[in-house]
């Protein structure tokens, strides 16, 4: 309550926002300048350093990084205009952009950066999943326009991880409390949070004092809509103006909009990978032959054509080859049920007379496939995979559960096969691979049974602090080739963002990362 009041009073004090009320805009125009979007949940309290329930798209609207991630992995200036690494590779100097102010009027300077880094380091355990935070020793202000970031070791993905939507973004030091909590969500970004109504909507207003190019839209209203059917109907009735995201509407609905002349649709380039992880530490997927047979027996092309309706391209590798270091030319084995069956025969898995499920040493070739019960897409893919595998004599038990139980299984390894997407740019490949070393997602458990798991972990650690470009490429090659050969992943498709809107909205570009929705660019020329 107190939090809300302070937030509101701070917003009203902001000179830019106060100026907004005086703009001579007729109400009809003002209405047209509001974009209504929808999201399954509220944006959250929007602490720039914290995670769920804070939504990343909203983090990116309010808060900015020192450097941002551009197309194809290039690093571009944001709040820092220039940067340089010191000779020993263990410190970075950032020249900060001049004349940047937070939405409450506080200047953005070296002291503000240090205050935010200190607040984040005060909560190190919460950020341990991110290697950069483990490497940061501290930040110091050399002068008001220059900041020095000290690291424990040379860490090559430093700039990539500085560009993440969280936690290395900056809140106004005036709003940051000494204990690290936040009085009000105030950043330097092109938007300010004007209003939030739990379960109803969040309203973002243009930050009139923004240092960069002003957004063309005046307001973005984000309505809370959980159900994809409701979202599609809302777009048709004009209650919302835009659908943007990986799974905001199902493939059938997207295709229906594509065929409808009243709407414009678009599909982004790959932004991540839809994966199935196979548990190498658990019967029967601990047998390499079983994993390889699964890789051959599931008809990926049919999944992509008939379930995803070609809204996502088929994936044969862990990461799309457009990501840095991963263009290795690896190819998944072709769909071939007979070859998969022969492979199982050769490995001693035989179909008993009259039986449908193969057996070896008295044990059935049966495994659990786990998914989120409410996710219609995961369920449909699961059932199709189950059908494919039953044809070669593998019994798949489908386990659909609530989201938290499902995530618990990813961490505990209590699965035979389980869904697990990669995180997309700028996390792929390095941050996603870094997290393979701890049981935070399905990857660690899926790989745990591999004979070379210790070496995989060691080499991931090495690649992150390697300073030699060629050595890094060689390490990635070994890692990705090994994971590919061991068949611990079944890549289904490359995730894409799907966009639907009416043509009147103008051009809607794609964000550079998976979680960025470029509201600031919508409606501009």
């Amino acid at each position: 309550m107190g939090n809300n009041m302070l937030r509101r009073s701070l917003l009203h004090l902001a000179p830019g926002v106060a100026g907004l009320a005086m703009l001579p805009a007729p109400s009809a125009l003002a209405d047209r300048k509001r974009l209504t979007f929808s999201w399954p949940s509220n944006a959250g309290p929007l602490h720039p350093h914290l995670y769920s329930p804070n939504q990343m798209y909203a983090h990116s609207m309010l808060y900015e990084p020192l450097v941002r991630y551009g197309e194809g992995g290039q690093i571009l200036p944001a709040l820092a205009t220039a940067w340089a690494i010191e000779a020993d590779g263990r410190a970075w100097r950032f020249t900060l952009r001049r004349d940047v102010r937070f939405a409450d009027g506080t200047p953005f300077d070296a002291a503000a950066v240090v205050a935010n880094v200190d607040a984040m380091l005060g909560n190190r355990a919460r950020h341990a999943w991110l290697e950069l935070v483990n490497q940061i020793e501290g930040a110091e202000a050399l002068d008001p326009g220059t900041v020095r970031l000290r690291l424990a070791k040379p860490y090559y993905p430093t700039l990539l991880e500085l560009s993440l939507p969280r936690p290395l973004r900056f809140a106004s030091p005036a709003a940051l409390r000494p204990d690290g909590s936040l009085a009000a969500p105030i950043g330097t970004g092109p938007w300010v949070l004007a209003e939030t109504s739990r379960g109803q909507h969040d309203l973002f207003r243009r930050n009139e004092g923004y240092w960069g190019e002003q957004p063309a839209l005046r307001e973005v209203l984000v309505r809370v809509l959980g159900d994809s059917n409701a979202r599609a109907l809302a777009l048709e009735t004009g209650e919302i103006d835009l659908i943007y995201g990986t799974d905001q509407v199902d493939a059938d609905t997207f295709r229906r909009f594509t065929a409808d002349a009243r709407f414009t649709t678009a599909i982004s380039p790959p932004i991540g990978t839809r994966l199935l992880a196979l548990n190498s530490a658990r019967f029967p997927t601990d047998d390499l032959a079983v994993r390889q047979a699964i890789a051959q027996a599931v008809d990926r092309a049919a999944l992509v054509r008939h379930i995803l309706l070609d809204t996502e391209p088929a994936a044969e590798t862990l990461f799309a080859e457009t990501f840095p270091y991963v263009g290795l030319g690896l190819r998944a084995p072709a769909f071939d049920g007979a070859a998969a069956a022969a492979r199982l025969d050769a490995a001693g898995w035989r179909r008993p007379a009259g039986g449908r499920v193969r057996m070896r040493d008295g044990q059935e070739l049966a495994l659990d496939m786990c998914f989120t019960g409410t996710d219609a897409l995961q369920k449909a893919i699961s059932e199709a995979v189950q059908g494919d595998l039953s044809r070669i004599g593998i019994a798949v038990r489908l386990v659909g559960e609530d989201a938290s139980t499902y995530v618990g299984r990813q961490r505990s390894g209590d699965f035979g096969m389980i869904f697990g997407d990669t995180w997309g740019a700028p996390y792929d490949p390095h941050a996603f691979m870094s997290s393979m070393r701890a049981p935070s997602h399905a990857d660690f458990q899926a790989q745990r049974g591999l004979p070379m798991k210790a070496e995989i972990d060691r080499r991931i650690g090495a690649v992150l602090i390697s300073t030699e470009e060629a050595q890094r490429a060689a390490e990635y090659r070994w890692l990705l080739t090994t994971l590919h050969e061991q068949a611990v992943y079944f890549p289904v498709s490359f995730l894409t963002n799907k966009v639907v809107h009416r043509p009147a909205l103008g051009r809607v570009p794609f964000g550079d990362t998976r979680n960025d929705i470029p509201f600031a660019q919508i409606g501009r020329g």
Binding site: G373, T374, A380
Partner: protein
């Protein structure tokens, strides 16, 4: 009108029972066999009602769905009757503290809405059709216990029961010989009215993904699976929905008819 309704209801229930019992023999296809290239087909010769989003035969799934739904409802019925009769008769015959304690337990179960209670129990027991059955039975037995207790209390003081007691019959024998037959009528009425209600519960919980594991066919699951396609292939929702509707209507009409027959207090009852 009523003359028509009873055969109609009997017909509907018989139809569903027939489908449930005969599904393995009359279903034209394996209800779980996916064939992605045959998805969302309209009704045609090979698939009389068309196919679903994974290319599975809709008619076969409906028939097998009847089996799952009716099996679940039967299991619930047996559990509820067993639990309700046991608790109700114990309370009615023993009276005193036992009665007070048992009835307070009943009160506790009756105060919580049944769906909420069922969801809570599934949360505790885990998902799956068996647990759904247990959860629905445990959230509905209290009304039966109340009814049985009431009937037992009114019968306990009847002369023929007293006579049986004087004759030295054990409590168990009195329950079996004199109380159960008297209870059959009211229980049959209550149960037949509830069958439809339970069927909706099973379908509702399956719709929420808490019941049978996929790819098994069940009407609630079929409706949930069809949600994304209700604009492109509305029959995927309409057919299992109609199956649920007809079955529930059938059971309710039958229950009404049964009540008219057995309940002498009904105003329009004609002897």
């Amino acid at each position: 009108m009523r003359r028509l309704l009873v055969p109609l209801a009997t017909g509907l229930v018989a139809l569903m029972l027939g489908a449930a019992i005969l599904a393995p023999w009359i279903a034209p296809h394996d209800p779980t066999l996916t064939n992605l290239s045959q998805r969302l087909l309209p009704p045609a010769a090979g698939h009389w009602l068309g196919t679903d989003h994974l290319g599975r035969d809709l008619l076969s799934r409906l028939l097998w769905g009847a089996r799952a739904s009716l099996a679940a409802v039967t299991a619930i019925l047996l559990m509820v009757l067993t639990l309700g009769c046991t608790v109700g008769m114990m309370a009615g015959l023993l009276g005193g503290v036992v009665d007070a304690v048992l009835m307070r337990i009943c009160d506790a179960f009756m105060t919580v809405p049944t769906l909420v209670l069922a969801l809570f129990m599934i949360g505790a027991l885990g998902t799956g059709l068996t647990n759904v059955v247990i959860a629905i039975a445990l959230s509905h037995w209290a009304w039966y216990a109340r009814l049985v207790r009431g009937v037992t209390l009114s019968l306990r003081s009847q002369d023929y029961v007293t006579a049986a007691q004087v004759a030295g019959l054990s409590r168990l024998a009195i329950m079996r010989r004199h109380l159960l037959p008297a209870l059959a009528g009211p229980l049959a009425v209550l149960a037949s009215l509830d069958l439809g209600h339970w069927m909706l519960h099973v379908a509702g919980l399956s719709f929420l993904g808490l019941g049978l594991a996929p790819p098994a066919a069940e009407w609630g699951i079929m409706i949930n699976d069809a949600r994304p396609f209700f604009r492109t292939a509305p029959m995927l929702v309409v057919l299992p929905g109609t199956a649920i509707l007809l079955t529930v209507v059938g059971f309710n009409l039958l229950g009404d008819a049964l009540r008219d027959r057995l309940d002498p207090t009904m105003p329009d009852h004609v002897h």
